[in-house]
């Protein structure tokens, strides 16, 4: 099953790419996709737990099944705070 992954901000810098394709087994969850990303990009492993994931344009929790041909976005915490 093919999944397209988009990476942003520090996650992109740590992975060294803004987009990549992963093959995951059918029935894989976002939790498993996180694990696979951490394996492929060890520099990303520590930061990944602070990121949210979205499938297409919808935020999703780690138990969500990854649909085939999904685009999964890795979203670091937003800047927030004082201006």
């Amino acid at each position: 099953m093919t999944v397209r992954v988009l990476l942003f901000a520090r996650a992109r810098d740590l992975a060294g790419t803004d987009t990549l394709t992963l093959e995951t087994p059918a029935g894989a969850t976002l939790r498993q996709l996180r694990d696979e990303l951490a394996r492929r990009f060890p520099a990303l492993a520590d930061f990944l737990p602070r990121c949210q994931l979205a499938i297409h344009d919808t935020l999703a929790d780690d138990r969500t099944l990854v649909p085939d041909n999904a685009t999964v976005a890795v979203l670091p915490p937003v800047s927030g705070g004082m201006m």
């Binding site: 520090r10 979203l75 670091p76 915490p77 800047s79 927030g80 201006m83």
Partner: protein
């Protein structure tokens, strides 16, 4: 009106777009790039977005403020790309028949933009270093917006 853009923000056009003879109050908020942060000098900020989700979240914020206050019209624009100190990074403008509503809705919109819209900024410091600004705490305020 909601927009992410790489061109400079023309707030005059935004203000005019929300003005109505039925709305006696208009409040505009502009966020601009500061030159100094805790004594460090910024030479540029770089803004990056996950466009499709950012636009969806902005639309949800619009629904949120329309459900809570009397909002005649609203425009929210965030700039992307590299900005220098003094440039406008974000503009929110709300028109309303009542000034209290215009102030509260504009204030709420910019607070929510900072919390729930996937737009990130990278500081480029005068010493040549740069860093993405991500709050260090675990995600206290998730990107979820209540569905209206």
């Amino acid at each position: 009106m909601i927009r992410l853009q790489r061109e400079p923000i023309d707030y005059g056009t935004l203000v005019e777009s929300v003005r109505r003879t039925t709305a006696g109050a208009v409040v505009l908020f502009l966020g601009t790039v500061r030159e100094l942060t805790d004594g460090r000098v910024t030479v540029a900020l770089e803004y990056e977005a996950y466009d499709r989700l950012a636009e969806k979240q902005l639309a949800a914020i619009e629904q949120e403020i329309r459900s809570r206050w009397q909002v005649t019209d609203v425009a929210m624009v965030h700039r992307l790309g590299r900005l220098e100190p003094g440039e406008i990074s974000v503009a929110v403008v709300v028109s309303s028949p009542h000034r209290q509503d215009a102030f509260l809705a504009a204030r709420h919109a910019i607070e929510r933009i900072k919390q729930v819209v996937p737009i990130w900024k990278k500081e480029h410091w005068s010493d040549g270093s740069s860093e993405w600004i991500h709050p260090q705490e675990p995600i206290a305020d998730p990107l979820h917006l209540p569905q209206s």
